[in-house]
């Protein structure tokens, strides 16, 4: 983040920005100039508090909202894996169990990390919701009933949660652009979720007699295919078939043999907060 650049941009739409900043025009300009010398972590906080004074709404408010949204998703994933690992006879011992122990560890670490980050920014971490992993809105008898007794179903839900997590973080990156530290952390969580998604897909690809496996799942998403035998998860994959990036058609680009599958696989698409909340709503009581 270039602090002077940010302030200059604000000044374009609000020429009074420096006056609003409590009349401390010179102090602000000095801060901007000295931005590179101030401890990196302190800069977003300093800017946030300045802007919150100027506009009466905390600039960090949006960031805290995004982090609480992410925290909700991480609570969902962490509790899903914690419950799965505690369900006797669900996850086969050996490679599969070790993989889900690794994934669960990361999701629980993400919960702790996000809670700490929110607190550090002066926000209040949201409380962990009560979850219904049958997608029954609290009835415990939703369409995914038996998810902790049926490994095939557990894997399908896991894949969907991981892919959705990737696309959800991606959709929020732009809302974190004003804070280098938070954006970096979010990106670093985002790619871990993608590693998880790839591995769960790999596990499923090796289970060709699994009744919920459709076709051959690959570590990446092809078109809008979930490779899961239910339409319930389709909202997480709709839009993934996109092959045009920034106005550039990727299929056959510059004469290369890139087909629609390659073009869709090569770019993961974002999901908006509203889309994600609709997807996870049946799981939250």
């Amino acid at each position: 983040m270039n602090l002077q650049h940010v302030l200059t941009e604000i000044e374009k739409i609000d020429p009074e920005v420096y006056d609003r900043l409590d009349g401390r025009r010179q102090a602000v300009k000095s801060l901007a100039t000295a931005g590179g010398k101030i401890a990196l972590a302190a800069v977003p906080l300093a800017l946030g508090s300045l802007l919150s004074k100027a506009y009466g709404q905390p600039a960090t408010g949006q960031i805290i909202n995004v982090l609480n949204f992410a925290l909700t998703l991480e609570y969902l994933e962490a509790e899903f894996y914690n419950t799965g690992l505690a369900s006797a006879g669900l996850i086969p011992s050996g490679e599969d169990r070790m993989a889900f122990e690794t994934i669960a560890l990361h999701e629980n670490e993400h919960v702790q990390f996000l809670k700490a980050a929110i607190t550090q920014l002066g926000g209040m971490p949201v409380a962990k919701p009560t979850f219904d992993f049958t997608a029954g809105d609290g009835s415990g008898m939703g369409p995914l009933a038996g998810v902790f007794a049926n490994y095939s179903l557990f894997l399908a839900v896991s894949q969907t949660f991981e892919d959705t997590g990737v696309l959800a973080y991606k959709g929020q990156a732009a809302n974190l652009i004003s804070s280098n530290e938070i954006l970096r952390a979010a990106l670093r969580i985002h790619s871990v979720e993608a590693r998880h998604a790839a591995h769960v897909r790999e596990i499923r690809s090796r289970r060709q007699s699994d009744p919920l496996v459709v076709g051959m799942p690959q570590p990446w998403i092809t078109g809008n295919q979930s490779n899961i035998a239910t339409n319930l998860v389709q909202p997480s994959y709709n839009g993934e078939e996109n092959t045009v990036q920034a106005g550039v058609q990727i299929v056959g680009i510059n004469g290369f043999a890139i087909d629609g599958n390659d073009a869709s696989e090569a770019f993961d698409e974002p999901l908006s907060k509203e889309q994600v909340l609709m997807i996870v709503d049946p799981f939250i009581v």
Binding site: H110, F113, A173, I177, L187, A198, Q245, G247, V248
Partner: protein, 246 residues
């Protein structure tokens, strides 16, 4: 065209700047003893793909350069990503042009898919950057044994993990939210590649403690560190000292 959307802050390749930069630029050349004759002989191999001659040899803009300047601002970061995608694409094109003996059908399928994804990324940046794009880089893959599964997959793992760390470290250097989203769309696919290759090499190592820390965060690296590591495989000198630092 996306080209028109890009702000006018492309790489400065004026003779004056090149002269000034020469004294202070980051030199990331790998082995310098490769002769021009060897390079010429290898060029098709190093830059190859389908179609076989994507860069017209008589177009000076498309000739492999001895030196490229990534430029500054967002364009600099996009050129930085373009350079890394060129490296990955060239590597997988070489890998799949004569795959090591004994590759499983899954290995062949994944390596060919990844090759196509990296070509898509490379050509996307080239097209989106338009006239602001750096030229094609020359690569030096002499340290890789392409007939060895361990060498090929080990290098692929290193490249994918490096790519993930590069995008994770570059996001905060981008000013434009649209470009940030594009980088985000690509980095998760690089992470999927990294996990896939890691699982081929050592099943279950998709997100092990060598890449994920005890906060559950993946590796990130600044451009200078990434280019220093990648420099082993890049013959072209890359001037990166105008990239944003925050």
């Amino acid at each position: 065209m996306a080209e028109q959307k890009l702000p006018d802050v492309g790489p400065d390749t004026s003779p004056e700047t090149r002269h000034l930069s020469r004294r202070k630029f980051f030199t990331y050349a790998g082995l310098s003893a490769v002769t021009a004759a060897t390079l010429a002989a290898c060029q098709k191999d190093l830059r190859g793909g389908q179609p076989s001659a994507p860069y017209a040899q008589d177009d000076p803009h498309n000739k492999p350069a001895n030196t490229v300047n990534l430029g500054s601002g967002d364009i600099g970061i996009l050129n930085y990503a373009y350079a890394l995608e060129q490296l990955e694409a060239a590597f997988y094109i070489r890998v799949t042009s004569s795959l090591y003996a004994g590759a499983t059908s899954k290995e062949k399928m994944y390596l060919e898919d990844i090759r196509d994804h990296e070509i898509a990324h490379r050509e996307f940046f080239k097209t989106a950057l338009g006239k602001k794009a750096i030229g094609p880089l020359l690569f030096d893959f002499s340290s890789i044994n392409f007939s060895s599964r361990a060498s090929v997959l080990g290098t692929a793992k290193a490249f994918e993990d490096l790519g993930v760390s590069a995008y994770n470290g570059a996001g905060e250097l981008i000013q434009n939210a649209d470009y940030l989203l594009l980088a985000g769309k690509i980095v998760s696919v690089e992470a999927r590649h990294a996990a896939a290759i890691r699982d081929l090499l050592n099943y279950g190592s998709f997100a092990d403690a060598t890449v994920v820390d005890n906060n559950g965060l993946d590796v990130y690296r600044k451009p200078a560190e990434v280019l220093s590591i990648a420099g082993t495989y890049i013959e072209t000198k890359i001037i990166a000292n105008n990239l944003p630092t925050s």
